[in-house]
Amino acid sequence: MPMSRRALAAAVVALVLPLSACGSGGDDGGTTDASGKVEGDITFQTWNLRANFKSYFEDLIAGFEHKYPGTHVKWVDQPAEGYADKLGADAAGGTLPDVVNVSPDLVAPLARAGLVLDLDKAAAKYRPEYLDAAWSSHRVPGMNGTYAFPWYLNTGPLFYNKALFTKAGLDPDQPPRTYDELFTDALRMAEKSDGKVATLANVPTIEDFGRYGVPLMNEQGTGFAFNDPKGVELLTKYKALYDAKALDPQALTATGESSGKKFLTGAVAMNPGSALDLGNFKKNAPGLYRNIGITDQITSTGHVNMYVMGVMVNSRTRHTPAAVAFAHFVTDARNQMSFAKKVAIFPSTAGSLDDPYFTKEDGTDETRVRIAAAKSLKNAVNYTPVLFSEQMKTALRNEVAKALQGKESPQEALDNAVKAADRLLQQG
């Protein structure tokens, strides 16, 4: 039956060909030289920004294409949920866009896989335009480069419910600023409310350990170190909060959304947020809005945590000059300032935070939050270790939960968390 064999062979080829195409990421990329003519078609990917800022990005892209005739930017936006998975699938499939919105922890594995352009080599001339701390936030321990232009910064304020503070006999105008003050106030709040009002809704994260003054990694950046006595001390104090119901009983399974809801309903007295939350309080919880207090993040180091967004360039782009020029264009002082006026974010470019927009009061709450945040950003630290992956966060969270439930001692829990994180770090 020669015909049927041929047909079968054709079917097999038809099946295998597209699959083999899927698997060929290929190393047919471009060059690290960004000095050529800025031209060509590039793709720019953002992280959940289309819904609220469509016109801003369309104008931004139009501005770039006008400045550099012969360029065309295709803009794609991905939802917040599963963004890392999407990047992973694109990177593995060889379809990573030319210019990508990333955070430092996302850029690290991509850089280690050789998929990100080293800007210290390809765009060193732009470095003086940015704040030093922001530029170095996209460095990866163990590698010698900088892998993304810093984009916008943020440091969420901490909201608190003044009415609950007053009811507990606490001074609503003197919210806690350090962890020691927080623990004292939280225990008092729980005692006075008979365990019905917790002060916090979330278990401590790696950033809490950082702000408490715990060294997160060893000096060489080769292993984690948050199981030192200071870390154990922090977790022991959180255990006391949990036992006294000063930490919400559902904190072990809380998400950002669920803790926000608890704050809205008055079940929790303090919650981190952003200036955008004020509008939400005004609309959904007017009673809370009338009693809202705003303070800085709790810190015992004098430095609040800074969240950094970046824009990386795919090392395999076919149009390196255009991709680098566009990534710089998106993050330059003028465009960052323009973006900051549309949403509560802060530019990472040198001198921008001294603009009157970030220093001059106009009597509104929004401006008050903005000015306070801009001020604290000037000496803020990015406490999230670049190499701290999602799996490591889960390992820490689970061990912290075991300590809070009394299934492990704080020392055992942190030792186990460090062991798990180190193992994941070594596995790459």
């Binding site: 039956m1 015909m3 049927s4 041929r6 047909a7 079968l8 079917a11 038809a14 099946l15 597209p18 699959l19 599963g82 890392a84 998975d85 990047l87 992973g88 990177a91 593995a92 996302l106 594995p109 991509l110 280690r112 896989a113 998929l115 919400d248 009983p249 559902q250 072990l252 399974t253 809380a254 998400t255 669920s258 309903t265 079940a267 992956s389 999602e390 799996q391 889960t394 969270r397 689970n398 061990e399 939960a401 075991k402 439930q405 299934k407 994941l424 596995q427 790459g428």
Partner: protein, 295 residues
């Protein structure tokens, strides 16, 4: 009169042509991913690193992985909690609503509504209901029982997720049972009644034997679904799988291990292979039990 249609020439690859679309889809979206998963389970592949052959190392590792045993325990508990309820309760419900009385269509629709509701919406509603300050706890407090930590206790969380699975699945299996009950001859019930059998006796001696094969089908379908449960537990216990991850199921573990930029794809594939193997064993056990019962 028109001449009868006749195929003039039979192409030897004709059947292949007809089967090709189905074969291509099955090959691309079922067989290839399955083969790829199997192959990857013997490698140390990561999301961005191709990986090398490591033999049975992943399978050896999962034997010593505490989270694997937690996931396996929870998935097995899920079967034990959910399957008996989903075999029995929909049958009783089907018996209730099969009678043609005025307004019965309304009740049938109501019982079926959870099946068509989005699992995300259902999950969120149940989270609101069972929250520390939700409706259920407010009611319990008002009658003096006090608040219960449905969403903060490891076991209550798992039980709550099981309750949601049962609640959401009742209508679906009810429809299957209604179809089976329609085929039970009325004469059998009449004969049993003449012999003096009451409603319970008739249910046990007539209805249950008549729908036994459907019960086996429901047991098989619901046990496979229960073993692979993800959404209910994920939505109620959160992405970390409950307090300290103690409510993690095997499928949640696969998702957590294998996704993200640093996902351990090889290890997640080994976990998937185990899930597949256990599912096949489950099916075989149910079918074997059925065959033994028949003989």
């Amino acid at each position: 009169m028109a001449a009868p249609l006749r195929i003039k020439r039979q192409l030897p690859f004709g059947p292949w042509l007809f089967a090709a679309p189905g074969l291509l889809v099955t090959g691309a979206f079922v067989l290839y991913p399955f083969g790829s998963t199997l192959a990857n389970s013997f490698t140390d592949r990561r999301t961005l690193v191709p990986g090398h052959f490591v033999g049975l190392a992943n399978f050896r590792e999962l034997l010593h992985d505490e989270m694997f045993w937690t996931g396996l325990r929870n998935s097995v508990l899920y079967i034990l909690g959910v399957v008996p309820a989903l075999v029995v309760l929909p049958l009783l419900l089907a018996l209730l609503v099969r009678k043609n009385i005025p307004g019965i269509t309304f009740f049938r629709s109501v019982f079926y509504t959870p099946v068509v509701a989005s699992i995300v919406v259902v999950g969120l509603i149940w989270v609101w209901l069972l929250d520390e300050r939700g409706l259920v706890n407010s009611l319990l407090e008002s009658v003096g029982i006090g608040r219960i930590g449905f969403l903060s206790d490891q076991w209550l969380l798992l039980l709550s997720a099981m309750a949601v699975t049962v609640w959401k699945g009742l209508g679906y299996y009810m429809i299957i049972y209604m179809a089976a009950l329609a085929n039970v001859p009325r004469e059998l019930h009449e004969a049993a009644a003449v012999d003096g059998a009451g409603p319970v006796r008739r249910f046990l001696s007539v209805t249950v034997p008549a729908v036994r094969s459907t019960m086996v089908l429901v047991a098989a379908l619901s046990s496979v679904a229960a073993f692979k449960v993800f959404s209910e537990v994920y939505l109620m216990a959160g992405p970390s799988g409950g307090p300290a991850g103690e409510d993690t199921t095997l499928v949640m573990l696969v998702q957590r291990t294998g996704t993200g930029l640093t996902g351990r794809v090889g290890y997640a594939c080994a976990l998937s292979v185990v899930v597949f193997a256990v599912t096949v064993v489950l099916m075989l056990l149910v079918l074997r039990a059925d065959r033994r019962e028949e003989s």
